[in-house]
């Protein structure tokens, strides 16, 4: 009958066990009742029966499911409580696996993927500058080679703001993240971080203060000595007290008033940073003294701002870009009108704006960390796989121990589906416990990672991260739960009884899966070990890269003569006077100074013409340049390979000279003798010519990874030092440089107590940040590799111990028949070797594929480096063999009588 079939179909909403037990009775009762309604011609009754049957499927059926789940869970927890050590190992390894994954995912998500937190409708935001860059460019031209502008000037921002055709609101922020010395009231000076922003900053981002008020457009013009502080700074520094409003913040020579507190969870327009405060751009002259960044003098621009806006309704990115660019180009044309000629026109005017979505905000870490984070995400994924394989193995072994119980249930009529469901519920319960513990672990790992990688972000369980954690938990449950569940239920109900009589040889099939899982774990560990090895060697290479000068016993001290009000002549005297005193310190071997110093992050590039050299393209007309003091090369320790260095006698009035580095000589002189040739720098319409008097060896002073670029060195002689206002002293000491630093500080203080020391570091301190990221990534990779290998070793140990326990009588008989202990050990190790070889075969392929992911991170080592691979394999084999040795040793010590009696 059709109605019966329909009703039977409805029964599929109920759990299978319930359906099997009561399904036929329900169909019977239903059909009888329906028949009765038919006979009495009760159509409404029949309709109501169908209605109630459908309602049952929606209400009673889920309750029955819930009942089964509850029953299974109760059973699962009873099983877990019965073997607490198994449960602890399982939950711990899952917590580690899921926790590490969630932590890295959270980091990846917030650094690379997530929208700006605390910002209203971030998807409407656009950015006109390059969101992945930060810094300040000064000069005439500053578009990239493709013409895109990374930053804007203050005047350009004003132009965008006031020309509101396509953007409904525009604001600008300082692209750099600043660190200031501040003091609250008359308190001690302390460190605080923040950035300058335009008056519309908070309005454009749609952010209202939790207390006080924020800047307005009026703060863009005139004096606005105010600061809005972040919620976390308020909590941390002021204990969340509301009387913070109106407090005075001393900063350099100015005093700011705190007028508002930003809401909790708002960190501004840049991801990966947590500013303490925001200050109006108009305060730049007092807060970031030096270059006037608010007014440009044609043809030089000071480009330092990110510009954000919101698109007007209905305006597309392309329309906005076209509109903004036509206004921008008109602005460029009028700005450069004084210097434009037919030849340079294209150079000056080939600059454009790219309008990009800015929901994720600006970020200096995004490009830098996207690759390492993706690689780490892959690595932790593998780690979780290993943990799952380990658990599957433990469950297999436990499943084998529970075989008689399961066989009993099967023979009592339980369906295989029912037992699989039961076992999966157990896996799920384990995974959920592991997942919950994993969240706590994720919090800890996240904190450690953030510290290691110098990120400024806190762990938050946003929907994406939560979804990831849940998916990782459920995925793990399936991964480690399915195989053991399926394995156990493929056996015959009567098998365990027979099994017992066969225990002299053990069951090969089940051991096969265990072996496979161990090989899988070993195989998956190999790429992690290789990756860790490659990154560790990269770090090693970076720390020992030949700089071209000794990377020790060198002090770098930078002072700011600008703020202390020095003019060019007084500055020259001051610097030479200080230098004289530094050189008189007994522990100082030599001292000099330069504009760029060593790894200071700055660079200057000039357009040049080199005598006898015909440039091929734009790139060939540029060289980097530094202005240096006398004895610069000997102080730094860079050998002069030809001619001479820069001397005391290179004073004003002497002929203009310069020294080039070997890279410069190679590119521009191509084998000819550079001595006596001239280099002319062209800036605007001013030309300055110098004669090459020497060639210095290449010295790495910019970065560690890239090749040294052509550079020439000019003596610090007026008028070349017009921009030379914060010199960096290089002080080479004979002994440890730390004690000398105190003397140097004293000398500067004595010379002029108002002279700010911007930085004072040893070369080691200066170089630490250069390798910080590599160190962090290498440390994390090594930690992951170690955990992976430990898990694999535990898995191997478990499988062997279990296998030996099952084959106790076989081994005992062998020993009884005269097998020596060494032979028993060899037998176990042979088995181990087979698993290791299978694992290595799998792992080598994986390692090869994985090495591509880290290629861009490497330095001085190839992704297929044979030494690293050999070392990784060696460690893996050694760990595997030691994990195998203990069970093997135990087996060889078996007493035949005891072992056979126990059977």
């Amino acid at each position: 009958m059709r109605s019966n079939a329909l009703y039977r179909a409805l029964l599929y909403c109920y759990p299978a066990a319930f359906r099997h037990e009561y399904g036929s009775q329900m169909v019977l009762a239903f059909s009888e009742e329906l028949e009765h309604a038919r006979q009495t011609k009760d159509r409404a009754g029949a309709a109501s029966m169908w209605f109630r049957a459908a309602l049952d499927a929606l209400t009673v059926a889920p309750k029955e499911h819930f009942h089964v789940i509850l029953q299974d869970l109760r059973y699962a927890f009873r099983t877990m409580a019965a073997s607490p050590s198994f449960t602890a190992v399982a939950v711990l390894s899952l917590a580690l696996g899921i926790g590490a994954n969630t932590a890295i995912f959270s980091l990846w998500n917030s650094a690379i993927h997530a929208s700006l937190p605390g910002v209203d409708k971030p998807e409407q935001l656009v950015i006109l500058s390059d969101p992945d860059d930060q810094g300040m460019w000064t000069g005439r031209l500053s578009a990239r080679e493709d013409g895109d502008r990374p930053f804007f000037t203050y005047a350009e921002f004003q132009q965008f703001r006031d020309n509101g055709n396509v953007l409904s609101a525009v604001m600008a922020t300082e692209s750099n993240f600043d660190s200031w010395q501040v003091r609250v009231g008359d308190g001690e000076w302390e460190q605080a971080r923040g950035r300058l922003v335009s008056g519309g900053f908070f309005q454009v981002l749609g952010v209202s203060p939790v207390l006080g008020h924020v800047f307005t457009a009026a703060d863009d013009s005139g004096d606005a000595p105010y600061a809005v502080i972040s919620y976390s700074y308020w909590q941390r520094r002021f204990g969340g007290r509301p009387d913070v409003l109106g407090k005075a913040l001393g900063m350099r020579k100015t005093t700011l008033t705190i007028i508002g507190i930003a809401p909790r969870g708002f960190f501004g327009e840049t991801s990966g940073e947590q500013p303490d405060m925001w200050i109006p751009l108009s305060m730049q002259p007092s807060v970031l003294p030096g270059v006037d960044r608010l007014h440009d003098k044609s043809p030089k621009k000071v480009m330092w701002l990110h510009v954000f806006g919101r698109l007007k309704p209905g305006v597309t990115l392309a329309q906005a870009e076209a509109q903004m660019n036509s206004a921008f180009e008109a602005g460029l044309e009028s700005f450069y009108s004084g210097v434009l000629t037919a030849e340079n026109r294209a150079d000056y005017l080939d600059q454009h704006i790219r309008v990009r979505p800015a929901a994720r905000g600006a970020s200096s870490v995004r490009t830098r960390f996207s690759q390492p984070l993706s690689a780490l995400l892959a690595a932790v994924g593998v780690l979780l796989l290993i943990a799952c394989a380990n658990l599957a193995n433990l469950l297999l072994a436990r499943g084998a121990a529970r075989r008689s119980e399961i066989a009993l249930r099967l023979s009592l009529g339980a369906s295989r589906g029912r037992i699989i469901r039961q076992m999966l519920t157990e896996s799920l319960a384990l995974a959920i416990m592991g997942g919950l513990a994993g969240l706590a672990t994720a919090y800890l790992i996240h904190a450690a990672l953030v510290r290691l990688m110098d990120f400024q972000m806190s762990f938050s369980l946003d929907p994406m991260v939560a979804a990831f954690a849940v998916a990782a938990t459920l995925g793990s449950a399936l991964l480690f739960g399915v195989l053991p569940a399926w394995q156990v239920t493929t056996m015959d109900a009567g098998e365990p009884l027979k099994e017992h009589s066969r225990s002299a040889t053990g069951s090969i099939g089940r051991m096969g899966w265990g072996r496979f899982l161990v090989s899988l774990q070993l195989g998956l560990s190999l790429p992690l070990l290789v990756g860790a090895g490659l990154l560790a060697r990269t770090l090693y290479n970076l720390q020992r890269v030949d700089l071209g000068y000794p990377a020790e016993r060198l002090l770098l001290v930078r002072i700011d003569t600008r703020e202390a009000g020095y003019n060019a002549v007084r500055r020259d005297t001051l610097i030479r006077d200080l230098l004289e005193q530094f050189r008189r310190i007994p522990a100082v071997r030599s001292a000099s100074f330069s504009n760029l110093g060593v790894f200071s992050g700055g660079n200057s590039t000039l357009d040049i013409q080199v005598e006898g050299y015909v440039p091929n393209g734009d790139k060939d007309r540029k060289s980097s340049m530094d202005v240096v003091g006398p004895d610069y090369f000997s102080a730094l320790g860079v050998p002069i390979v030809l001619g001479r260095g820069i001397l005391e006698s290179d004073r004003p009035g002497a002929p203009g000279i310069c020294v080039v580095n070997a890279a410069f000589a190679k590119q521009f002189f191509e084998g000819r003798n550079p001595i006596g040739r001239s280099i002319t720098s062209v800036e605007d319409n001013a030309r300055m010519t110098c004669q090459v008097v020497g060639v210095a060896n290449n010295a790495r002073t910019q970065n560690l990874r890239r090749d040294v670029k052509p550079r020439y060195y000019l003596p610090a002689v007026p008028p070349f030092d017009v921009e030379f206002k914060s010199p960096i002293f290089l002080i080479r000491t004979a002994t440890d440089s730390a004690p000398v630093l105190a003397v140097v500080r004293q000398i500067i203080q004595r010379a002029d107590a108002s002279l700010p020391i911007i930085s004072a570091n040893s070369i080691e301190e200066q170089m630490t940040p250069l390798t910080a990221q590599d160190r962090a990534v290498a440390q994390i990779a090594v930690a992951f590799g170690t955990v992976a290998l430990t898990l694999a070793a535990i898995g191997l140990y478990g499988v062997l111990s279990y296998g030996i326990a099952r084959r106790k009588s076989e081994i005992a008989i062998r020993i009884a028949l005269g097998a020596r202990p060494a032979r028993v050990i060899a037998m176990v190790l042979r088995e181990t070797t087979r698993m290791v070889i299978a694992g290595l075969a799998l792992g080598a392929g994986l390692a090869y594929a994985a090495s591509r992911i880290v290629t861009s991170q490497l330095f001085g080592v190839t992704p297929q480096d044979p030494l690293t691979l050999a070392l990784a394999i060696g460690i893996l084999v050694a760990v595997a063999l030691s994990a195998a040795y203990f069970p093997a040793h135990r087996a060889s010590k078996l007493d035949p009588m005891v072992a056979l009696r126990s059977e």
Partner: protein, 119 residues
């Protein structure tokens, strides 16, 4: 698994469907459809148990030990082998009694406070 060690009070108050089924089984052993018919007849059609509710309740009542399933049909005349019959257990009787007691007390209190008219 029958829970004979449970005190009857632990199961109170009984869900309506369960109490109806207990009442239906009070005079004789019945199969499912017979229980449905009895409940409908006694309540003048006001309470109609659906098959889903009935068997979900029976599943629970079996676990709680309120009813027992009979191995054989109590009706020798019945030719339908598919039918399964249920009987009120001793524990079931005690629980039903406890429920009646509870309702009685409640009713009495309602009368004493004048909420409803009565003796």
């Amino acid at each position: 698994m029958p829970m004979h060690d449970t005190e009857p009070d632990a199961l109170l108050p009984l869900p309506t469907a369960v109490f109806h089924i207990l009442i239906a089984l009070a005079d004789r052993d019945r199969h499912g459809y017979s229980i449905m018919q009895d409940v409908a007849a006694r309540t003048g059609g006001k309470v109609r148990l659906s098959a889903g509710t009935l068997y979900s309740s029976i599943r629970r009542m079996l676990e709680q030990g309120l009813v027992e399933e009979l191995a054989d049909s109590p009706d020798p005349a019945s030719t339908d082998e598919r039918r399964r019959y249920y009987r009120l257990s001793r524990f079931g009787k005690r629980v039903a009694g406890a429920e009646v007691e509870r309702l009685n007390t409640l009713l009495q209190q309602a009368r004493e406070t004048g909420l409803v008219p009565g003796a």
